[in-house]
Symmetry: C2
Subunit: 665 residues, 2 copies
């Protein structure tokens, strides 16, 4: 940063000034000259560097015995110091003015200088360690060559005795809380005390004050004390200057995530203030700035390894529960159960929460996004998930009504993709919506704004309003694959179902029956022939296929996919009385993905040669990718309530190894 | 824009589809094949182009007599049409499927195609004329190579009978109002009528609806009618499809200027909607988008030629008025007078309004920014300035109290500058403020936000809170110069005054008297010696000099200036009882600049050899630049009320010839 300060000499006087290391002082010799002066000479102490600048020409002035320079309008002295002072005013520059006659000086002007070093330092190169005066600390840039420090929103809760999040108050109770914060060091160097009238102040702009908290660590004899010095009401803090080389250590926390009104950058400044006399305000003579970007909330696609599987324990889902437990064990995951007193009859674990994480060079931890859906499970995230190193964030609309599209079965994320050369190394968020030309449902604005504002998983809006429930997980999912692409996208497909049924009919299996073993007494004898001859069902599924194809086209374009990346899973839908679609048989795409183990809703398709032909078909599509298809009966406890396996579970996954600050959004 | 739509064939059936020119339809031959099919052949009409795509391989299929292709999973047909249809379904593609035995087809599938051309067109290359389907019309870029259409905020008032601005209502009364708007053309081509279930809809996103208005011009036999079809409550409009090649003409106006919550871009879309059957919602099968950027409000620096000079006629300023009239005549400008009934005793014409302009390729006009200061002159802008092709904009704080720093003597703009290689071809806005570390005055947030949001004259905040009145025009101004730099920056300078006085004292003129001829009886005999021996005055002016130097340093850095671009005008200040500064003698930097003619507050400095030595000194600095110094006595009607010539006048100037959309902000 260019640092150039104007100082006015006064002939017949020696003034005093501070010179901050790394900056220069410009003083107008001509303006300070007595009347009749035509030339000048200089003397200065060793630690001061003096240049005589006339227009384009720059000459270094020796400390002693230098020449006489002509006094030109526009002649400027540039002063700088290379080392800090041991005592106040222990350096000086003296200007002697000469008249036309030459000889003795007709007058002199001078300045006593005190050299001070000030640097506000952070980890701008993102290696987990605070540097010394990184020249890039005041600007923030993305990418592998980017620079700029990073803040975490302190949204976990270290102690169970605090009712809220750690960032909600201005107290630090434990060293663990500090570990979530970013370290900032104020380095100073100079004489034992600052001259009278000077002070050093740390401050935040008003616009950043509600975004950041700064704590100072005192180390008294009996244990550390953490003092809140900046943020919220506190806009500035006078720093206690220490003398000699000194370091003051601070810890910085973020208070809120990036959002539509907050791009995510906060700046902290330190200023050296000078006050000339009583009653005259302080003026800043030097300012150093550091910039932080608040780490975004990041979602985890199905291609990341699972850690914990979440499920609700209901009165009626014991068998389903056992199957999920078996699957979780198989995949090496812990099963976390939400019991009746906490789920209060709400079984849709997918819909109330979305698991994500935040990450900085010094620390990372999982963070749950709590949906404004707020049904039976509404206390679960804050009472059972929020804790030490497990954060929490939510967005609630003030006026807008919440709809089914605010449930997080309608919030998913793709694996990493590249689209026409633009890379999305953390994938892209997918949310379901309605067409802009009609007054349909849409995810509530405050949640959408939050998701877009995180920037690193640039969202795509799909069309899901054609479904009764209206979630994207009812027609699309992603599974890992061992090849270069790393994944496949699976889509629900009535066309694939009709194609399969027609093949089976041609093979003479037209009388094969569906729903054998289906719980519930109300399924009539449904055969392949019956389905294929049902014109109304055909027309409805043609409409559904168009809706899904509209999404296929968007996904191909926005995720850079080709047909070979997509696998169609047979599915059939029926329309409710409002013309919205629900699954006719358990919707297989609504599966849980635990690495290679898939928990797929058991479709109860037509039995051909003793086997469900839908299961057989799906195995033939997925097993070549090394995936294991575990079909799970979810009919009575989930499908009949218009959801499936995915809707009734949730998965907390390992974070990306890719660092989000290397993204170029 | 990549346009690729999925369409599903049905074997045994011929479906119907629209194909929009410039897009392609992809259809999965494999998925639509009957069971047992192993190959297929194609037939199609001439206007359809058919490609057979298998993985990476693409083969064009002849309309007739083509080969039999093997039926592979993943084989896709890509269909497109090069010309619009004359009749519905006048083109077709037929797929014949063959079994292993070959011979006759076992089944067929087909699609009747109707080719439709749709293009929403604007003036995206900014030459004043709407193009045909400019490929860059949906994105907006800055710079000489930038593309994207431009909107004007329709903030003038064509008719005196309308109480508000033209953009405040949804009516167009005259052709003149349309001339302010940007032209948009919807071009369509195709059969006489669209097939059943299709419609074309123009729409705006909800977030843009309060930013734009779209009018449709009907030409009935007896004169034109202008109908408001989009904007505010109206989110979409079903367009009447005309058949054959047709053009529908629309006119678009902006409703508000860019601001902190509105970056300035609005988009308008046209969609072709398809509805399969009764009760089934419309789905968009094609969407075309255009983007407009709202033209920013632009200020005019002193280096642009003056057109009109504004002044208030007061009971006590007749002599001043006459001088300004003389100066305006000399400079070839019209003098516009605001009389007592309208100024209501408020003489500070500089403070209530700032003259600027807006500009689009098709039109431009002046726009006045009305300060929230709202003293005696508060009705003047809206009652006397707003009119045909003279626009109006204001920003009023909801809660924040207005201070003196909200007067527009505190809002100026520099001439064009280049700063370390970054160009500001329209200069930079300058606003006075306080230091962030103390609770001083600052321009109210809504006005600051507005100024920053215009983007093309990137503001710089200076320090003016040290003054009683607190306006930047009390210490800085700009004058044109004939050399390559094009301007000089003038700054008030106590140091220059002390230097001059000391020179005069040395020359033996210490008893030269100030304030000779000063109106008002209370000036004691003030000589150079008296001023130089007044230690308190010296100390106060040293403090003032530091405040001004702080601004000098910011201006040098932010405008890329060197010392040779700056001229110091002698000035002296005194402190009020709150420690704020006012001018001790009329403050010469507060001048009116009318090309080479300057109207400078007459300083009443020490008379040396029959001439005011301050006037003589200033002439010697400015006349070499070709500038004419006209010293104007403003003591009784302005200086005594803490303002000067600049504060009591205002100038409307010619706009820049440089096009703001060529800026790279």
């Amino acid at each position: 940063m260019l640092r150039d300060r104007t100082l006015r000499l006064q002939h017949g006087n020696r003034i005093e000034a501070l010179c901050v290391l790394g900056t220069q002082i410009s003083t107008d010799v001509y303006g300070a000259a007595p009347a009749g002066a035509v030339s000048f000479s200089l003397k200065h102490t060793e630690a001061v560097n003096v240049e005589v600048v006339t227009g384009e020409q720059v000459e270094v002035a020796p400390g002693n015995g230098g020449p006489r320079w002509p006094l030109d309008k526009g002649t400027v002295l540039r002063l700088s110091m290379s080392q800090a002072s041991m005592e106040v005013n222990d350096n000086k520059v003296t200007v002697s003015y000469y008249g036309e006659e030459g000889g003795q000086p007709i007058d002199q002007a001078g300045v006593f200088l005190t050299g001070i070093g000030i640097s506000l330092d952070v980890d701008a190169d993102r290696d987990g360690v605070v540097e010394k005066n990184n020249p890039n600390k005041a600007t923030w840039t993305w990418g592998p060559d980017g620079q700029g420090a990073i803040l975490l929103v302190n949204c976990d809760r270290e102690s169970p005795f605090i009712p809220a999040l750690d960032c909600d108050d201005e107290r630090v109770f434990s060293k663990e809380d500090l570990l979530d914060m970013s370290r900032m060091v104020l380095r100073t160097e100079g004489p034992p005390r600052l001259p009278r009238g000077y002070e050093i102040v740390l401050y935040v702009p008003l616009s950043d004050a509600d975004k950041v908290g700064v704590f100072y660590v005192q180390n008294p004899f009996f244990g550390q004390r953490y003092i809140h010095i900046l943020g919220r009401q506190k806009l500035y803090h006078t720093v206690q200057y220490m003398g000699g080389p000194a370091e003051l250590e601070f810890f910085v926390e973020g208070l809120c995530f990036p959002d539509d009104s907050f791009p995510g950058l906060v700046s902290i400044h330190v200023s050296l203030l000078e006050s000339l006399a009583e009653g005259i305000p302080h003026a800043p003579i030097f300012t150093d700035t550091v910039v932080f970007r608040v780490a975004p909330w990041i979602m985890t696609p199905n291609t990341l390894a699972p850690v914990n599987v979440f499920i609700c324990s209901m009165k009626d889902n014991y068998l389903f529960f056992k199957e999920i437990k078996k699957l979780a064990d198989k995949a090496g995951c812990e099963l976390k159960v939400c019991y009746g007193y906490m789920n209060r009859g709400d079984r849709w674990m997918q819909d109330e929460v979305e698991f994500g994480y935040i990450h900085a060079p010094h620390k990372g931890f999982p963070v749950v996004l709590d949906s404004p859906r707020d049904r039976g499970l509404k206390d679960f995230p804050i009472k059972k998930l929020l804790g030490p190193d497990f954060g929490y964030v939510t967005r609630e609309p003030l006026f807008e009504a919440v709809t089914s599209l605010d449930s997080f079965g309608n919030l998913e994320v793709s694996p990493p993709v590249t689209v026409s050369g633009k890379e999305y190394p953390l994938g892209r968020i997918l949310i379901g919506s309605s067409f802009p030309t009609c007054a349909g449902r849409r995810m509530t604005k405050v949640v959408r704004d939050f998701l877009y504002a995180q920037q690193v998983q640039s969202p795509v809006e799909l069309y899901s309003d054609w479904l009764t429930v209206g979630h994207v997980d009812e027609f699309v999912t992603f599974v890992p694959s061992p090849d270069a692409k790393r994944f496949r996208m699976l889509m629900a497909s009535p066309a694939a179902c009709y194609k399969l049924f027609r093949e089976k009919q041609k093979e003479g299996q037209g009388e094969a029956t569906m729903f054998k073993g289906y719980s519930g007494a109300d399924t009539k004898r449904v055969t392949i022939n019956k389905v294929l001859s049902n014109d109304i069902m055909l027309q409805q599924n043609q409409y559904v296929q168009r809706c899904i194809d509209w999404n296929r086209d968007i996904l191909k374009k926005e995720l850079g996919l080709t047909e070979s990346d997509i696998i169609d899973l047979p599915a059939l839908f029926k329309m409710d009385k409002h013309g919205k679609a629900v699954a006719y048989f358990p919707n297989m795409v609504n599966m849980i993905v635990l690495s290679q183990d898939l928990g797929i809703p058991k479709p109860f398709g037509p039995i051909v040669e003793g086997e469900c032909c839908l299961e057989r078909h799906v195995r033939s599509l997925l097993e070549p990718l090394g995936l294991m298809c575990n079909f799970i009966d979810d009919v009575s406890s989930y499908h009949k309530n218009l959801g499936e396996v995915h809707c009734g579970t949730n998965v907390q996954r390992r974070p990306f190894s890719f660092k989000w600050w290397h993204v170029m959004p």
